[in-house]
């Protein structure tokens, strides 16, 4: 299996997804003021689900 090809496709898709998410307008003024110190691990949907499944 050509892993480099898979990786390239995957990376490109994620980059496109990030671009689309950043391009979407947000009503929340704080979003653009936050300095991101670490990236890519938050899963708010799962976190809220966990709160409600307790």
């Amino acid at each position: 299996m050509d892993m480099s090809k898979t990786s390239t496709i995957s990376t490109k898709t994620r980059a496109e997804a990030l671009t689309a998410a950043k391009a979407a307008p947000t009503p929340f003024s704080a979003t653009g003021q936050v300095r991101v110190l670490k990236s890519g691990t938050m899963d708010p949907g799962k976190a809220i689900r966990k709160l409600r499944d307790k």
């Binding site: 997804a17 998410a21 936050v34 689900r49 709160l51």
Partner: protein
């Protein structure tokens, strides 16, 4: 058949949190939720529809932003405060404390023994007779399974979640 677009919605915590988070902090495979939630919220504001939510939304959002954001070193405490204050203040929310009996009856209908969180939001939507917007497919499926008399819409299925112009798809009902 084009789905009618309502003039008021009950909005789930996950929509607010996905909308406010810097996209770089979210798992790459979940970025679609950031994009669709942002578009939905931006259009809801543009079209000046009523935006309702349960009072539980703020503590839930505060919990997630602290536990998964601040405590994990994604951003500083000060920036986490900015995010939660933004959720609280930047949208003209109408906050609701749902009727106790409605919450308990909803919880029983959902056949749940856990936290009443889902029932809080669904009870508000039932009382107002308006759609409930969420990213949570598990909740969507539960509402279908137990025939809950509330219209639940996954955000990605609402026309406002798609790319385009803000003025696209004004309310129709």
């Amino acid at each position: 058949v084009t789905q009618p677009i309502a003039r008021r919605y009950v909005i789930d915590t996950n929509i607010a949190v996905y909308s406010v988070l810097p996209p770089e902090t979210v798992k790459p495979e979940l970025l679609e939720f950031v994009e669709t939630s942002r578009w939905f919220m931006a259009r809801a504001l543009h079209h000046k529809v009523e935006m309702h939510t349960a009072r539980l939304m703020l503590p839930e959002a505060r919990n997630v932003i602290y536990r998964d954001g601040i405590a994990q070193g994604m951003f500083s405490l000060e920036d986490g405060v900015k995010l939660i204050q933004s959720i609280e203040s930047d949208v003209p929310w109408t906050w609701h404390d749902p009727n106790n009996q409605q919450v308990y009856e909803m919880q029983r209908t959902l056949n749940r023994t856990q936290s009443t969180g889902d029932a809080e939001f669904l009870a508000v939507a039932q009382a107002l007779g308006c759609p409930f917007i969420t990213t949570d497919s598990k909740l969507f499926n539960a509402v279908t399974q137990y025939r809950i008399p509330v219209q639940v819409i996954l955000v990605s299925q609402h026309p406002w979640s798609q790319q385009g112009e803000l003025e696209d798809n004004p309310p129709t009902e």
